[in-house]
Amino acid sequence: MNKYDVVVIGGGPAGLAASNSAHSNKAKTLLIEREGQLGGILKQCIHDGFGLQRFKEKLSGPEYIHKEIEELSSEIEISLLTFVTKITKTISGFELVLVNRQGVKKIETKKIILATGCRERTSKQVAIHGTSPAGIITAGTAQYYINILGEMPTRTCVILGSGDIGLIMARRITLEGGKVLGVYEAKSTPSGLTRNIVQCLEDYQIPLYLSHTITKVFGDYRLEAVQVSKVDEDMQPIKGTEHIIVCDALILSVGLIPENEIADSIGVRLNPKTKGPLCDQTLMTSMNDVYCCGNALHVNDLVDYVSESGEIAGENAARKQENNLQDLVEIKTNAKIMYTVPSLIDFNRETKKVILYFRSTKVYEKQKLMIYCNGEMIFSKKYSFVKPPEMERVVLDLSSVKNVHEITVILDDE
């Protein structure tokens, strides 16, 4: 049976960065990828805007991935078209059962890094009702059809949800000769990045309707029309505001969910707010020696941060464990903060440099972020505005604080 120090599950940007950093920290590393090619979802993201932080240049998804793969050490073992069917905890680590075109194989590893990415919410998860015709697909599926297979899944469509992929696909469908009649968003503010609202909708005169949702679909075979309604503050449809829009497709960009089926199967505890595992600053989950990074940890809006979290997980997984004792402190927040990642700090770990990501619950202007340890402010930063779609990142140095029993992160008016 093959034995590894670190097995990375998922060969997207998080998994690539995790493998590389685990390997450069001297761990015998195996990278497992389900598809026939590395790169994950970036393979189909042919638009640009990736890598501004990491590579200081504007790259397309495939270019970004190409750079990452080029940096990948040839000593890292890679297993493509391989599916992890089972993970079992053993005394010394984990046993994984892998399936691929060569057969079923068992391997052993001391540590696991989950870099399994995320999936899209479906039409039934956002309670789309009416008939069930062809032509209701998620934005990611539409992107695969257009960018990978070179096929058009629509001629005239509406998009529900203003998530980034939805905005990107609005532009993409327009460029391919399709017509996007509008993007409908149930919330009163957009879900995607401002730059995407400008570059993908405004530049192409595609209207964005906030506080609107799709309440019904029509068509026995192919989608023929959708019913749009205004929604109230609780996002409930307002009676009497319904109108019908004739179109052949409904493209959904209604949120992403971290893929944590493997994590769940071995008993890793999940954070109900992020739907990813609860982690400390080393990105280790509630289960010893299981790490998580990228969109499997929490849904990111920039791939640069996905790669960064992969590096953190890889580096820490490669490190010899000092001891198994934990000194966990849960990070408390006020109501203006939706979540922080990590949500726990383990003071028994060597890693004292903490990269903290957070999202606000609403759009707030002129805010100040204040971080307290045992009631004493250790960090503060001012923001002219914070928005839920745009994740914020701060770096903390906890090496000088001692005997911490409380960490609080507060966002408040300046």
Partner: protein
């Protein structure tokens, strides 16, 4: 005598609606007239049926300002089957039609089945909860109980022969107060009367051992050991494939549009693929069975469609919900009123949880829409059984239409007025359970009508399904992959379905090369991402395997196109 009954009933009916009249057609009750309210039409039909003074009820009361939508029909029109002669023509490719077709192949007959949709089991036979019922709720004189009792002992073996998974998980009826032990005594009488086997009393401890997440109000329960679950569309497909292996023909996308009847005998059946000449016609047309009966000039019953909505939950929800089909007894009246005893919070054979169904009368025979209200109805109805039930776990939902008669019973008989037809009509729950025995009787009637019929000595009862690779042991799976690497390439990540299984589904006795048909046969796309990742991959595999262009692969049928021709290709 019957004149007096009619006079009294007419008096009652006129009080409800003066435009409705009851008369006799032979010994059948015939209702005619107009109404503004569909519920009223159903109510009057039931009122007449309840008297049990007539052979059956034909309800021809028209709903004002209602134009019944025409039956959904295939888009193709040609003469592919024009002039075809068969001994028996089965109309309808649901569970009952498929079971009958297979049973027919046990004789030396030329048999065919026509189905208007592009695949089998597309409506009631897939839009149900997959329960093999125990028969506790059925009254002893019904056809429902008669056929259910005869089917239960043979079902497991049949499923085994057809390589269809049969999970005998049991069904539990739980009671929430100790005084209901009196009801339990009544129940015991019924268990005896209905011939129900394998029942066990469960005290509170044993009840919660078997069903730890049941509402804690439950005090005791009864376990019905014969209760089982099965995948209803897989069973239908398996029966039809077995029939094809034994020489039957399955003609999909073939709709019956009219019949030529002369001297109380069907001469020919018109379809969108031409005229077929059968000696005997079997009516297993589900929600359209009264329409088919009318074409055959043999309409002595009426179908009133009853819609039901079900939701399917993520496999992850199973641990906090039910381990077998368990319901808390809600009182006799409630069960009788809602016209659905089946369902509840039911584990499916594939490890999901099904919640449902609702029961709402509708004039639409093919209204498969869903609504927020129906889903809310489903969940509030069953919240009492399983406190952890949550709409957040939904991965999909769907509606189906039950083909209810006013007698609320199956119609299994030879034609009343037309000589060469056999009806298997009015099939609703427990039709899935009762199908094998229904098939038995229908085929016996058909053979009587045909006269001299000999047994098919070569009948092969065995049908092998598609190997579910992730259910094999590692050794078996490894061996299979070494010989066929496609079984090692996972396409559907949620359900762990391999490329090999998808290719297998395209090489079956009955091949339907659509995304939905592959999904039904392999479960690829049935998981929590609902095909988000694998749908394009499956389209690609089907296209390559059938040597078609990507854009010619549909979700289902002719009209459910997925992709449009790209501009470049149009110019070619």
């Amino acid at each position: 005598m019957q004149n007096r009954v009619i006079a009294t009933l007419n008096k009652k009916i006129k009080q409800i609606n003066s435009k409705v009249t009851l008369s006799l057609k032979d010994d059948c009750a015939l209702l005619t007239g107009y109404s503004d309210d569909w519920d009223e039409i159903v109510h009057i039909g039931r009122l007449v049926a309840k008297t049990k003074k007539f052979y059956s009820v034909i309800n021809d009361i028209k709903l004002n300002n209602f134009v019944e939508p025409t039956m959904r029909r295939p888009l193709i029109e040609d003469n592919a089957y024009d002039g075809m002669k068969v001994d028996v023509l089965v109309i309808g490719g649901g569970i009952v039609g498929a079971a009958i077709l297979r049973e027919l192949t046990k004789y030396n007959l030329k048999v065919a089945l026509v189905e208007k949709e592009d695949d089998l089991a597309l409506h009631a036979s897939s839009r149900n909860d997959g329960c093999i019922h125990v028969g506790i709720d059925l009254s002893s004189k019904t056809n429902k109980l008669k056929y259910l009792r005869r089917s239960i002992p043979v079902y497991e073996k049949l499923a085994q022969d057809l390589d269809v998974e049969y999970d005998k998980m049991g069904q539990i009826v739980a009671f929430k107060s100790n005084w209901e032990r009196l009801i339990y005594l009544l129940l015991k009488l019924r268990i005896k009367k209905n011939g129900i086997q394998e029942t066990t009393f469960l005290n509170r401890k044993k009840l919660f051992e078997r069903e730890p997440n049941l509402n804690k109000v439950a005090k005791f329960g009864v376990l019905f050991g014969t209760g089982a679950c099965i995948c209803p569309y897989n069973m239908t497909i398996a029966l039809a494939e077995s029939a094809v292996i034994n020489g039957a023909q399955v003609l999909l996308s073939t709709a019956v549009t009219s019949m030529e009847v002369k001297n109380k005998e069907i001469v020919s059946v018109q379809t969108n693929h031409g005229r077929i000449f059968p000696k005997v016609v079997v009516n297993a047309a589900g929600v359209f069975s009264d329409v088919i009966a009318e074409m055959a000039e043999d309409k002595f019953f009426s179908i009133h469609p009853r819609k039901g909505t079900n939701a399917i939950l993520d496999k992850k929800a199973k641990d906090k919900l039910m381990f077998q089909s368990t319901t808390i007894y809600e009182g006799l009246r409630k069960t009788a009123k809602t016209h659905t005893k089946g369902g509840g919070v039911v584990p499916t054979v594939d490890g999901n949880i099904l919640v449902g169904p609702t029961a709402n009368e509708t004039p639409y025979r093919e209204d498969f829409t869903t609504s927020r209200e129906e889903i809310n109805q489903v969940f509030s109805k069953h919240k009492n059984n399983a406190p952890h039930l949550s709409q957040r776990d939904i991965i999909t939902y769907f509606s189906g239409i039950r083909a209810a008669t006013y007698e609320e019973d199956f119609v299994i008989q030879k034609g009343k007025w037309t000589r060469n037809i056999v009806h298997a009509a009015g099939i609703q729950s427990p039709g899935l359970t009762a199908a094998p025995a229904i098939a038995d009787d229908v085929v016996a009637y058909a053979c009587e009508l045909l006269g001299k019929v000999s047994r098919n000595e070569n009948f092969n009862p065995i049908r092998k399904g598609i190997t579910r690779v992730n259910k094999l042991s590692y050794e078996e799976r490894n061996k299979l992959i070494l010989n066929h690497p496609d079984y090692g390439q996972i396409v559907c990540r949620c359900e762990e379905i391999s490329k090999g299984e998808i290719i297998d589904a395209l090489h079956r006795p009955i091949v339907v090369a659509s995304v939905d048909a592959i999904k039904k046969r392999t479960r690829a796309g049935m998981g929590r991402c609902q095909g988000g990742f694998c749908q394009p991959l499956i389209v690609d595999i089907i296209a390559k395997e059938t040597q078609n262009k990507l854009e010619s692969i549909n979700k289902k049928g002719d009209g459910k196109i997925l992709l449009y021709q790209t501009k470049g290709e149009q110019h070619e």
